[in-house]
C-alpha cells in the first residue's frame, strides 16, 4: 500500500511562496546590475531608413545603446526547431536591422544604471521609419494582399496535407455532409509573471550565467550557446521560480540571447523584466486558425469522414515551434471517434503580427474544438441527441490500442465510462426535460457536451523536434537524505511534491527527507523540460526508473553488509532484509507503512542486532564510506536514468456545461459545470484538480472573453490587461470534478498527464452549450469569444 502516492499531500513548494519568499527572476539581486529597456516598433510594417541614438547615448545613467546593426553579426537569429518540407524561414534577428514586421518588434536597446533611466532614454532614440502596406487578416494574406516579405513573392510559409483514407470518396458517399467555417481566435497566454532575464558574465572564468523565466532551461542553454557563439559548457541557465508559462516560455526569445551578449560586452550583470505591454506585444500568442470543416455522416449517426482546410496565422516570423503547432491539430482530428477517412490541409501564413506558438494545448484545442463542434452539427442535422452520436462513434474499451486515420495509436481508454459518469453527475435526462419546460416558458437554457481525447506525454523522440525523453538522477546522501534532480522544469505544477511522493514510497523514506531540484543546467543533468503534459508521465517515469536502478545497486551493498546473497535480500518499507531461504525481488513492493530509522552518525553502519536488516540510509552511508562494499563495486549511491517513452498517452473525458442566456441582455450565466477527466493513475488528486480547474478557466476565457485584436494597420488594440479580458473569480462557476482511472500502458506508473486537459475539453463544451441555448433561433454555430453582444443581436433580430 502506498503511503504517499494517491494522497492529497500539501505542496512542499508552498511555504516559501505564501510568505513572499520565493525568487522569481526579478527577485534575484546582484550588485552592480545594469538595467535594460527595449525600443520596439510602433509600426506593423515599415522600412528603417536610419536610427539616431546619439542623444540617448548621452542621457543620464546610460552606458550603452545598441541597434540591429551593432549586433547583427554578433548574435545569431532566433531559432525555429520545426523542420517542415519547403518551410520558408525568415532571418529573424534579435534586433531589427532595416525592416520591422510587427508592432513590438525590438529595434534598439538601452542599458543604464537603473530601469527608470533606461526607460527615459528609449524616448530619445530617433528612428526614421518608412511605412509599408500591412497585412493582418490571415485569409487575405493567404490570397495575396500586401507581402510581409517581398522576396518570397507570397505570404505562404508552407502547405501541408496529412491524414489517411479516401476523404473525397468518403464524403461523396455519405448521407449528409455538413460544412462550417470555424475561427480559433488569437489568444495571449498571460502568465502572471511576465518574461524576465538576468545575465551575468564572469570575464575571468569566461562563463556566462543566464537566469530566465523559462520552461526549458537545457534546450535554452543549447540554443543560446549557438546564438551567442559561446561553448555550451561555459553557459549556465538557471530557472528560478517561474510565474506560469502555459507554453509562452517554451521558447527561445531574442531578449534572452541579447542580454547574455550585452553582459559579455559590459562585464556586468544586466537585467530585463518584461512589462505587461511588451508581454502582450512580443511574447508568443496562441491559436490563430481560420478553418473550414466538412464532416460526413450517415443516417444512423456514423461519422464517415472529416476534412479540415485551415489557414494558420503564424505571424511575421517563426518562434521555436510556430509552424509545427497546426500539425498537432492534424494529429488529433479523429477526436474520440472512429472516423475512417480524415484529411487536413494546412496553409501556414505570414501576417504582420506577433508569432503564434504553443499556448496550453498547442494545436490540440483547435482539433478538439473542430471535432466536438462538428459532432454537434451532425446531431443537429440528424435531429438526434448529441450524446447518441458520440456513443455511436466511440471505439469500445476492447479496441485499444486504437488506430486513427491520423496515424496515431491511442494507448487506452473507456470513453463511455467517463461519459456515463458525467451524464449522471449532470442528471442529463432530467436536464433535457427541464430545458424543454424552460423553453416553453421562454427561457433559454443550453446544454453542451464535449467528449474529448488529448495527446500527452510528448513524446517519443521520433515524433519530436529535439528529444522527447526526460531524465532523472536520484541519490541518497551519506546522511540518508534523498535528492532528486529532474530534467523537467516545473513552474507551478507541483512536481517538487509529486516526485517526492513517488520517491518516498519507492524508497520507504519520509516525504520530508526528499528534495527535488530542477532548473539549473550546472546542477541537473540534461533534460527536455515541462510542456505538453509530459513532466509526470515522462519525467516522473524517469524518476521511477532511476530509483529502480538505485535500489538494484543498494541491494548489492545491503547483501554485502548482511553477508547474504543479493538474491536473498528483500527490500520493503525502507529496509533490506535477509531472507531465510527463498529468493526475493528487489522491487517487490513500493510500499512504506512504517517510519524508518536514521542512519547512525559518525560510525560505520551495522546490520540490526539480529543481523537481518539494514535500512536504506545505512546502505547510503556505507556506500559513501566505501570500506565495506562489495569488492570492485562503485562507491556512492546515485543513479541516473533517461526515459524514452514508446508512445504518447491519450487522456480523455467528458465535460458538460449548462448555461442560461438572458433574453434581454444576451448575458450568459452558468447553471452547472461538470467534468469527468481520465488522466490515468493519479499521484496527487489535489494537484490534478488544480490543473483541471485552471485549464477549464483558460478554456472559458477563450470561449467567452479573450481575444487578441489587431486593427487594420496592425496596431494591437488589446495591448494591456485593461483590454485583454483574462477571466476573474466572479466570472467562473463552481466546477464539479470527478475522475475515471484508466491506466496508461505506455509507462510503468500508468500516468497520462493532465496539464492541458481542461483547456482542451472545456472550450467546446461551453460553446456547444451556448449554441444549444440559441438553437430555437436556428443557430448551429457561433464563433468565439461568444460575447453577450453577439447573443443579444441574434435574439433581438428574431424577437
Amino acid at each position: 500500500m502506498a503511503k504517499y502516492v494517491g494522497q492529497r499531500i500539501k505542496r512542499t513548494e508552498d511555504p516559501r511562496l505564501i510568505q513572499g519568499l520565493g525568487h522569481y527572476v526579478d527577485d534575484v539581486r546582484l550588485p552592480d546590475t545594469l538595467h535594460v529597456s527595449f525600443l520596439r516598433s510602433m509600426y506593423a510594417h515599415a522600412r528603417i531608413n536610419g536610427i539616431d541614438t546619439s542623444e540617448a547615448s548621452h542621457a543620464p545613467g546610460v552606458l550603452a545603446v545598441y541597434t540591429g546593426k551593432d549586433v547583427a553579426s554578433k548574435v545569431g537569429p532566433v531559432p525555429c526547431a520545426a523542420a517542415l518540407p519547403g518551410l520558408k524561414v525568415p532571418d529573424y534577428r534579435v534586433l531589427a536591422t532595416d525592416h520591422v514586421v510587427f508592432v513590438g518588434h525590438p529595434v534598439a536597446v538601452v542599458v543604464a544604471t537603473d530601469k527608470y533611466s533606461a526607460r527615459d532614454a528609449i524616448d530619445l532614440i530617433m528612428v526614421d521609419y518608412e511605412e509599408l502596406p500591412v497585412v493582418v487578416d490571415v485569409e487575405e494574406a493567404a490570397k495575396g494582399g500586401p507581402l510581409v516579405y517581398e522576396e518570397y513573392g507570397d505570404n505562404i510559409a508552407y502547405k501541408l496535407t496529412a491524414g489517411e483514407g479516401d476523404i473525397n470518396a468518403a464524403l461523396k458517399s455519405s448521407d449528409h455532409v455538413i460544412k462550417q467555417r470555424i475561427v480559433h481566435q488569437r489568444l495571449a497566454p498571460i502568465a502572471m509573471e511576465p518574461r524576465g532575464v538576468l545575465a551575468r558574465y564572469f570575464p575571468g572564468e569566461q562563463e556566462l550565467t543566464i537566469w530566465s523565466s523559462t520552461q526549458i532551461p537545457h534546450l535554452l542553454r543549447t540554443q543560446l550557446a549557438l546564438m551567442i557563439g559561446m561553448p555550451e559548457n561555459k553557459l549556465r541557465v538557471i530557472t528560478p521560480e517561474v510565474g506560469g508559462g502555459f507554453g509562452s516560455k517554451l521558447n527561445v526569445y531574442a531578449e534572452e540571447a541579447l542580454l547574455g551578449w550585452i553582459s559579455m560586452q559590459l562585464g556586468k550583470p544586466v537585467k530585463w523584466i518584461e512589462t505587461r505591454r511588451e508581454n502582450i506585444q512580443a511574447t508568443i500568442h496562441g491559436r490563430g486558425q481560420v478553418g473550414y470543416v466538412e464532416i460526413g455522416c450517415n443516417n444512423d449517426g456514423a461519422i464517415t469522414g472529416l476534412k479540415y482546410d485551415v489557414f494558420a496565422d503564424l505571424g511575421a516570423y517563426h518562434q521555436l515551434l510556430t509552424p509545427a503547432i497546426p500539425t498537432l491539430t492534424g494529429l488529433m482530428l479523429s477526436g474520440s471517434y472512429k472516423i475512417p477517412a480524415i484529411q487536413i490541409n494546412v496553409t501556414g501564413v505570414f501576417t504582420n503580427k506577433m508569432a503564434t506558438d504553443a499556448y496550453r494545448g498547442a494545436g490540440r484545442p483547435e482539433a478538439t474544438y473542430v471535432v466536438e463542434r462538428a459532432v454537434d452539427l451532425v446531431a443537429a442535422e440528424l435531429g438526434v441527441d448529441t450524446v447518441d452520436v458520440r456513443r455511436k462513434n466511440f471505439p469500445g474499451p476492447d479496441e485499444f490500442p486504437f488506430k486513427t486515420a491520423t496515424g496515431l495509436f491511442y494507448d487506452s481508454g473507456d470513453y463511455d465510462a467517463a461519459l456515463k459518469k458525467a451524464l449522471e453527475m449532470a442528471d442529463y435526462e432530467n436536464l433535457r426535460e427541464e430545458q424543454k419546460r424552460a423553453r416553453e416558458q421562454g427561457r433559454l437554457i443550453g446544454i453542451g457536451v464535449s467528449t474529448y481525447v488529448e495527446i500527452c506525454a510528448l513524446g517519443p523522440s521520433q515524433a519530436m523536434p529535439a528529444g522527447g525523453w526526460e531524465s532523472a538522477t536520484v541519490r541518497i546522501e551519506p546522511t540518508g537524505k534523498v535528492t532528486i534532480l529532474t530534467g523537467a522544469s516545473p513552474h507551478g505544477q507541483g512536481q517538487e511534491t509529486s516526485f517526492a511522493q513517488l520517491a518516498a514510497d519507492e524508497l520507504g523514506v519520509d516525504l520530508n527527507d526528499v528534495t527535488v531540484i530542477h532548473g539549473d543546467t550546472s546542477i541537473v543533468q540534461y533534460g527536455i523540460g515541462t510542456f505538453g503534459s509530459r513532466a509526470t508521465a515522462v519525467g516522473g517515469t524517469a524518476v521511477f526508473m532511476a530509483i529502480e536502478k538505485l535500489k538494484e545497486k543498494a541491494s548489492k551493498i545491503a547483501a554485502h553488509m548482511l553477508q547474504a546473497d543479493a538474491s536473498n535480500v528483500l527490500f520493503k518499507e525502507g529496509r533490506f532484509s535477509k531472507q531465510a531461504a527463498r529468493a526475493a525481488s528487489v522491487s517487490e513492493t513500493p510500499a512504506a507503512d512504517i517510519p524508518v530509522g536514521q542512519a547512525p552518525a559518525g560510525a560505520l553502519p551495522e546490520p540490526d542486532s539480529d543481523g537481518k536488516h539494514v535500512t536504506i540510509q545505512d546502505v547510503a552511508l556505507a556506500a559513501h564510506i566505501a570500506r565495506e562494499i562489495p569488492p570492485g563495486s562503485e562507491p556512492g549511491l546515485s543513479a541516473t536514468y533517461f526515459f524514452e517513452p514508446t508512445n504518447f498517452t491519450f487522456p480523455f473525458g467528458t465535460h458538460i456545461a449548462v448555461v442560461e442566456v438572458d433574453r434581454e441582455t444576451g448575458d450568459i450565466k452558468f447553471l452547472k459545470y461538470v467534468a469527468v477527466d481520465d488522466c490515468g493513475k493519479v499521484i496527487n488528486p489535489m494537484l490534478v484538480d488544480g490543473q483541471v480547474h485552471g485549464g477549464i478557466v483558460q478554456a472559458l476565457g477563450q470561449a467567452m472573453y479573450e481575444e487578441i485584436v489587431y486593427d487594420e494597420q496592425g496596431q494591437l488594440v488589446t495591448g494591456t490587461l485593461m483590454d485583454y479580458a483574462v477571466p476573474k473569480a466572479a466570472m467562473i462557476p463552481t466546477l464539479e470534478l470527478e475522475r475515471t482511472e484508466t491506466p496508461s500502458p505506455v509507462n510503468p506508473l500508468g500516468v497520462k498527464g493532465v496539464g492541458e486537459a481542461g483547456t482542451i475539453g472545456a472550450t467546446p463544451a461551453i460553446v456547444n452549450a451556448i449554441v444549444d441555448a440559441l438553437s430555437p433561433f436556428g443557430i448551429r454555430h457561433l464563433d468565439m469569444p461568444v460575447r453577450p453582444e453577439a447573443v443579444w443581436k441574434i435574439i433581438s433580430a428574431q424577437a
Binding site: 500539501k10 508552498d14 505564501i18 513572499g20 526579478d26 488544480g690 480547474h693 481542461g758
Partner: protein, 162 residues
C-alpha cells in the same frame, strides 16, 4: 529634487530619500528589498502588487512612494507573525490555492482585506471581493476554498480567544 519620506513597513520604520516619481512597489521591492510583492501589469488590473496601506488594500504599482509618506504598510512578508502563518496563508497551503505562486502574495493580501471587512462571506462575496486580482493557474476555485478555510479558522480563533 528628491523627497524625504517615512514609512512603517511590517512594523519597521524606514526613512528614505526618493525620486517623486518612484512607484511605491519599486520602493518596496528595490529600496527595501522586500521582493514578495510582485508586479504583473502596471495598470492596476492584476493585483499582484496588492499591499495593505493604512488598513486598506492598495495596488502598489499605481501609487507613488511619496504618496505613502507617513503610512503604515503591511506586505506579504509581514503576514506571518513570529513564524505563525496568517490564517489566509494557511488556507492557501491547505486548499492548494496556488500553483505558480506569482499572484499569491497579492491574492493573500486582498483575501485578508475581504475577511477584514466581512468575516463570514458567501462564495459569491469572496469571488467578487477578489475581482481586483487575477490568477491564471488555479481557476480560482481552490482560492475560494482557501478563503473559506481562513474565515472558519478566524471564527474558531475568535471563539476560543486564541
Amino acid at each position: 529634487m528628491k523627497k524625504q519620506i517615512t514609512l512603517d513597513v511590517n512594523g519597521i520604520s524606514h526613512h528614505s530619500e526618493v525620486e517623486p516619481r518612484l512607484l511605491l512597489v519599486h520602493y518596496i521591492r528595490d529600496v527595501l528589498g522586500l521582493t514578495g510583492t510582485h508586479i504583473g501589469c502596471e495598470t492596476s488590473i492584476c493585483g499582484a502588487c496588492t499591499i495593505i496601506l493604512d488598513e486598506q488594500s492598495v495596488k502598489s504599482c499605481t501609487m507613488f512612494a511619496v504618496q505613502a509618506d507617513g503610512a503604515k504598510v503591511t506586505t506579504i512578508e509581514g503576514m506571518a507573525v513570529s513564524g505563525d502563518l496568517h490564517p489566509v496563508q494557511e488556507g492557501f497551503w491547505e486548499k492548494h490555492g496556488l500553483q505558480c505562486g506569482y499572484c499569491t502574495p497579492g491574492m493573500i493580501m486582498a483575501a485578508a482585506q475581504v475577511l477584514d471587512r466581512n468575516p463570514d462571506p458567501t462564495e459569491d462575496e469572496i469571488r467578487h471581493g477578489l475581482e481586483g486580482n487575477l490568477c491564471r493557474c488555479t481557476g480560482y476555485q481552490h482560492i475560494v476554498e482557501a478563503v473559506q478555510y481562513a474565515a472558519q479558522k478566524m471564527k474558531d480563533q475568535a471563539a476560543t480567544g486564541d
